[in-house]
């Protein structure tokens, strides 16, 4: 109940900030509004996104980029730079706990992160070189693809891996972790490692290109393709994301595509929201929030597509 009051309160702050601005009341363009309305709105929106991202099992970046690029006046370059930072900050915050609990595995993550971080640099360079409408259109199509993936993808809590492939055996990618939910040790190993490496090359490219955290793709690749238990997939995905987004963020920073007035309130709002979100998970069904996120992504994806194609500016 306290959380719901908090959501209502943030909505009131946002609406009162907008209404207090004379330019908004007069229906004037975004550039005529007081500067503080936008970072304040960004903070509030990111706070709410942070709250729903954790229970929905998605990183903040995948919600942030299509929504902020679709409905805020910032150029897509700055939105993607901030999107990477939002995803990076969330992943870095969660990383220590996951590593200590053995729910993210270094031996599993390192080879995949190496290829994905290299390709994310290429993705970032390509993304910053392409015209914004082209990236916006591709972003819309990608977000709609993610919606389809989220609706269709099955999950396997404990995939059966009969025997590891030779690369996984050479890299000694296997282990044991303690599953507190089932209160037992889970022994795991992986297969199809070469295919996994190729997939992570592509995932890194998309992360850098669109400024998305790539948890939506990491988890299915680890769980369904490589046979990593679901809990370990989710933890290792966040850890991989913290490495991949680091390399892409440097490219955006060096190209001047990280604007403090966009990035800072987004990161701070998302982190605060994520702390609340972890508590929200205990009182609202994750499946309900997941449906809400799918609906939001569908709307944001269609908006990005329409904006990119010049159908709705």
């Amino acid at each position: 109940m306290r959380v719901l009051r908090l959501v209502a309160g943030t909505a009131m702050v946002l609406s009162s900030a907008w209404c207090a601005d004379p330019a908004w009341a007069a229906g004037e363009p975004a550039a005529a509004m007081q500067w503080w309305v936008w970072p304040l709105s960004l903070f509030v929106i990111c706070f709410v996104l942070g709250m729903i991202a954790v229970p929905a099992g998605v990183g903040g970046g995948v919600l942030f980029v299509p929504i902020i690029s679709g409905f805020f006046p910032f150029h897509l370059d700055f939105v993607r730079g901030a999107g990477l930072l939002v995803a990076l900050a969330s992943a870095v915050a969660a990383g220590p706990g996951l590593l200590r609990a053995g729910l993210a595995d270094l031996r599993l993550a390192l080879p995949l992160a190496l290829l994905a971080s290299a390709s994310s640099i290429a993705g970032a360079l390509i993304g910053l070189a392409l015209p914004a409408p082209v990236v916006q259109t591709a972003l819309g199509a990608t977000i709609l693809g993610i919606v389809a993936l989220m609706c269709a993808a099955s999950k396997s809590e404990f995939p059966q891996v009969a025997r590891p492939d030779s690369l996984a055996a050479a890299l000694r990618i296997h282990g044991v972790f303690y599953d507190a939910v089932h209160r037992r040790e889970i022994t795991w190993q992986v297969h199809r490692t070469p295919l996994g490496l190729v997939l992570f090359l592509g995932i890194g490219m998309l992360a850098g290109l669109f400024g998305l955290g790539a948890g939506w793709a990491n988890v299915p690749a680890l769980n369904l393709v490589m046979g990593v238990p679901l809990r370990l997939s989710a933890g290792s995905s966040g850890f991989i994301l913290s490495i991949v987004d680091s390399s892409a963020v440097w490219v955006y920073m060096n190209k001047g595509a990280v604007l403090a007035i966009v990035a800072a309130p987004s990161v701070i709002g998302m982190m605060l929201g994520a702390f609340i979100g972890a508590r929200l998970l205990t009182i609202i069904r994750a499946s309900t929030i997941r449906k809400l996120v799918i609906a939001v992504l569908l709307a944001a994806g269609l908006r990005a597509l329409a904006k990119g194609l010049g159908l709705w500016m």
């Binding site: 005529a32 700055f78 870095v92 590593l99 200590r100 053995g102 890299l171 044991v176 403090a260 701070i268």
Partner: protein
């Protein structure tokens, strides 16, 4: 099994490399966030004057990054280090800590992999440091 036992049991499954990585990552994350929040408050409160006045931003943030840099005279790459007295530059310090902490974590792993004679993972770690350093150096974006 009480909560403390549960936590200890979980930690028993983390390798020494993971525990060291986690320690460095946590310290960097806390430092980065504190510096980011402090820098942003100094910026938006006007305590530290900005290179680009806040009131002018709505006319500028819809420009593409290269056009924004041209219009404002902001530098590319690491040129912002020469402008640390500007409010709009201050939050970049926290962002740099957050972006750079992974590289420090990998550097901290090197002695452990070397002591264990785990040459494959030592090589992977060195390569990852190289990738991150290359991205951070600005060499790939220079001249565009």
């Amino acid at each position: 099994m009480d909560v403390k036992d549960e936590g200890e049991k979980r930690r028993a499954y983390a390798s020494p490399e993971q525990l060291r990585y986690a320690r460095v990552l946590e310290a960097g994350m806390k430092l980065g966030l504190c510096v980011l929040v402090a820098g942003f408050l100094g910026y938006v409160s006007g305590v530290v004057p900005a290179h680009v006045p806040l009131a002018q931003l709505p006319a500028l943030w819809s420009l593409a990054a290269p056009d924004y840099l041209r219009a404002t005279g902001m530098p590319q790459g690491w040129g912002w280090l020469a402008m640390l007295g500007s409010g709009d530059i201050l939050p970049l310090i926290g962002i740099t800590v957050l972006a750079g902490i992974s590289m420090l974590c990998f550097i901290a792993l090197l002695p452990l992999y070397a002591a264990r004679r785990d040459w494959i993972y030592l090589t992977i770690t060195v390569l990852e440091i190289g990738v991150l350093a290359l991205a951070a150096s600005g060499l790939l974006t220079a001249g565009h």
